[in-house]
């Protein structure tokens, strides 16, 4: 790697030979304004704002563009000579004659002291910097954009000015555009995810959430440009630790364990099918979970409660029991919603001056201190209305108040139908069993109830154990419960696991099968029956024997034995015959 020595504004700098003047200036921390430069693309010198004066120290001098003028030994650069500044000013004035109102140019004009551009002001928003065209070519590799036409008609265009088939909708052009000329719009049914509207977009590489464990970003291959075109790789260029591996694959790891605690939690009910509440249709109808994300100080709005347009809401309706206590969806009560809904109204009152409406079926403030909190909320001027919301509609359809929402409900305490105008609706959605709960239950040989929650061994006497020894339940996967209950159950499950592990030995159930050697004919019929391979054939004695540690006592072998040589303890043939006889006599 050969290096050269040069000076910028009198300061000495040593640079690699392949670099350009602008790189040198940035290395020294000298500011040169530019509009068309992007670190991971070849310099293009389109805006011509970065012009500087180059000298060789012997009298030769020239005005050059810093971004693409290669450095050489002995070069002297002067970034703010009258010649350079004048050229910049002229170039800026020419840009303004095309598109003056852009804030970016306005700021530069202020810097250069241009009050009135000599050649007038244009109203275009594209400065033809070519960032979009180049990012599409060099970084994304989609080649969907190019410059079309010539001279004063030159513009950024897709091929033949038609909707491009090559465009992969990555949005890279819109994100590099310095003027906001390129916007992402919903055309031809590209669906924008609802949370993207209300809570900001998710980029292709992101943390799943701030408190995620492990707290490392991941790449969404669906959104990532590299996985769509094979190009880009900007993230790997930026990362100083070289942590980005595009060829990483999901891996399965096997662990041998003595006990399992199921703490798989819940899924949130998707309110989209409940068309009457307009979730997914009206951007300001959000779920409680989305509100929590927004309310988080490290969330996309920095903890501010905002509408989609960035304004503070003036009235918020919080709708209880969306999907729970509902014959059409889940009959059970999700238990946590009442209290978090009250917490929400408390937070809204604390952060904004918005009016809050709570629409409930019944208030279920069952825990310690909960009723007191409910009473406190009532004192905070929250409108608590008994009646489930029937519908959420745009009030623009009714009153000319475009963009605002109307919550229709029956206030059952005053016996009147009400229409409540609000800006934001929060849906307190039901807690649902995980979609793969059944599959998981099957893997661990435990049971799921009709609602999909795992069933405990006994509702009162064994609330954390399951029908499979060594498998325990903790949290909502067993049924809706709030944080204190979840923590208590988790603690109980952990102590049960410790009990198992600390003992070092396992208490066996006394119900297992025993083979009477005198009766066994050695037919081996039972050997294949056993799902636990607990029965082995003793070649010396020519009889089968049960390993009582492996036997679970199901009795399948007992029923199969043609000689009647096997006895299932606690469920012997005699006992069962006696039961039959006793019942029918």
């Amino acid at each position: 790697m050969t290096t050269i020595k040069m000076k910028i504004d009198g300061r000495q700098v040593e640079l690699e030979k392949e670099l350009f003047v602008l790189d040198g200036a940035r290395a020294l921390g000298i500011h040169i304004p530019t509009l068309c430069h992007y670190p991971y693309m070849a310099p293009y010198a389109a805006c011509r704002i970065c012009v500087v004066e180059a000298r060789d120290g012997k009298g030769w001098s020239k005005i050059v563009t810093a971004c693409n003028y290669p450095v050489w030994d002995g070069l002297e650069i002067h970034t703010s000579t009258p010649q350079a500044m004048n050229t910049r000013r002229v170039n800026l004035e020419m840009l303004m004659s095309r598109c003056a109102p852009i804030p970016l140019l306005q700021r530069l004009a202020e810097e250069f002291g241009i009050d009135k551009p000599r050649w007038g002001t244009g109203k275009d928003t594209c400065i033809l910097c070519g960032l979009c065209v180049r990012v599409c070519d060099e970084v994304v590799g989609a080649h969907a954009l190019a410059f079309g036409d010539r001279g004063i008609y030159r513009s950024v265009a897709t091929a033949f000015w038609e909707t491009s088939d090559d465009c992969i909708l990555c949005g890279a052009c819109a994100s590099v555009c310095p003027t906001g000329h390129i916007k992402m719009e919903e055309i031809h049914g590209r669906s924008i995810v609802h949370s993207e509207i209300s809570l900001g977009s998710n980029s292709a590489i992101s943390l799943s959430f701030r408190q995620a464990v492990p707290n490392v970003p991941f790449i969404d291959p669906q959104k990532c440009i590299h996985f769509n075109t094979g190009e880009c790789k900007v993230c790997s260029k930026v990362c100083p630790k070289e942590c980005i591996h595009y060829d990483d694959q999901d891996q399965f790891e096997e662990y041998e364990v003595g006990a399992v605690v199921m703490a798989t939690g819940f899924d949130s009910f998707d309110p989209t099918p409940m068309k009457q509440y307009g979730y997914g249709k009206y951007p300001n109808v959000i779920t409680a979970e989305e509100f929590e994300v927004m309310n988080n100080a490290s969330g996309p709005t920095g903890g501010k409660i905002l509408l989609q347009n960035g304004e503070e809401p003036r009235a918020i309706a919080i709708l209880h029991c969306i999907g729970s206590r509902d014959q059409n969806y889940h009959k059970y009560c999700s238990r946590v919603c009442c209290m978090y809904a009250f917490k929400f109204s408390h937070l809204v009152k604390e952060k904004t001056s918005a009016e809050v409406y709570q629409l409930y079926i019944d208030v279920r403030s069952f825990g310690k201190g909960y009723e007191e909190f409910y009473l406190r909320i009532l004192d905070e001027n929250v409108n608590v209305i008994r009646g489930k919301a029937a519908e959420v509609v745009l009030s623009g359809f009714r009153r000319g108040e475009e963009g605002h929402l109307l919550v229709m409900c029956e206030d059952t305490l005053i016996g009147k139908f009400r229409e409540i105008p609000v800006d934001m609706v929060i849906l307190c959605t039901a807690l649902e069993a995980r979609k793969d709960a059944k599959e998981m239950a099957r893997k661990l040989n435990i049971s799921v109830g009709a609602d999909g929650w795992f069933i405990e061994a006994h509702p009162k006497l064994a609330p954390v154990s399951t029908t499979t020894e060594g498998v325990f339940l903790a949290g909502v996967c067993q049924g809706p419960k709030d944080i204190p209950d979840t923590v208590a159950q988790g603690g109980a499950a952990a102590s049960q696991v410790l009990e198992l592990l600390c003992q070092g030995e396992i208490m066996m159930d006394a119900a297992y099968a025993v083979i009477d050697e005198a009766l066994c004919s050695g037919c081996k019929m039972c050997n294949d029956m056993c799902p636990y391979t607990a029965i082995a054939f003793d070649d010396a004695k020519k009889v089968s024997a049960v390993n009582s540690a492996l036997c679970k006592g199901c009795g399948t072998c007992v029923a199969a034995c043609p000689a009647g040589a096997i006895m299932a303890r606690h469920f012997t043939d005699e006992q069962i015959y006696a039961q039959i006889e006793g019942m029918l006599s």
Partner: protein, 152 residues
């Protein structure tokens, strides 16, 4: 006095017995005609138990196990299903209508299904009338006649 069938029910400990328990704790009403014998697994149900129940005077026998894939002992219910199929053929050969033996899958959460199974089976046996095993001598002609009556 109307005929009250006496039915012996063999319930597996993990699914059907728990399901029956659930029906009980949920205070669901079902016919009291089924008297239950708890076994650890439906695979424990020896065909001899079924025959002995009929000998002892049962009008019907109900065997309940876990749904396929849910068996606590992996596949005891598969074995049970095969044994019940054979038992039905034996019953037929003995002149006992095989419909008097029924196999059902009831999971631990299906209290309502247990109620429905018990009620429908009781109704079915009530309609079939009492077993008259004792009146029958095992004369080959009678067995053949009975077999023919219930179709091959």
């Amino acid at each position: 006095m109307s005929f009250e069938p006496r039915i012996v029910g063999f319930l597996c400990n993990w699914c059907s017995y728990t399901g029956a328990d659930l029906a009980g704790t949920a205070r669901m009403k079902y016919a009291p005609n089924v008297m239950t014998v708890r076994v650890m697994c439906s695979g424990r149900v020896d065909p001899a138990f079924v025959l002995d129940s009929f000998r002892a005077g049962a009008d019907g026998v109900l065997v309940c196990g876990c749904h396929f894939g849910d068996c606590h002992y992996v596949e005891g219910n598969h074995k049970c299903m095969r044994r019940i199929a054979i038992t039905k053929r034996i019953l037929k050969g003995m002149g006992i209508p095989p419909e008097r033996l029924r196999l059902e899958w009831v999971s631990a959460s299906e209290g309502a299904r247990f109620q429905e199974v018990v009620d429908s089976f009781t109704e079915q046996i009530r309609a079939m009338g009492p077993m008259r095993l004792k009146e029958w001598a095992f004369v080959p002609e009678q067995v053949e006649a009975a077999t023919a009556a219930h179709g091959e």
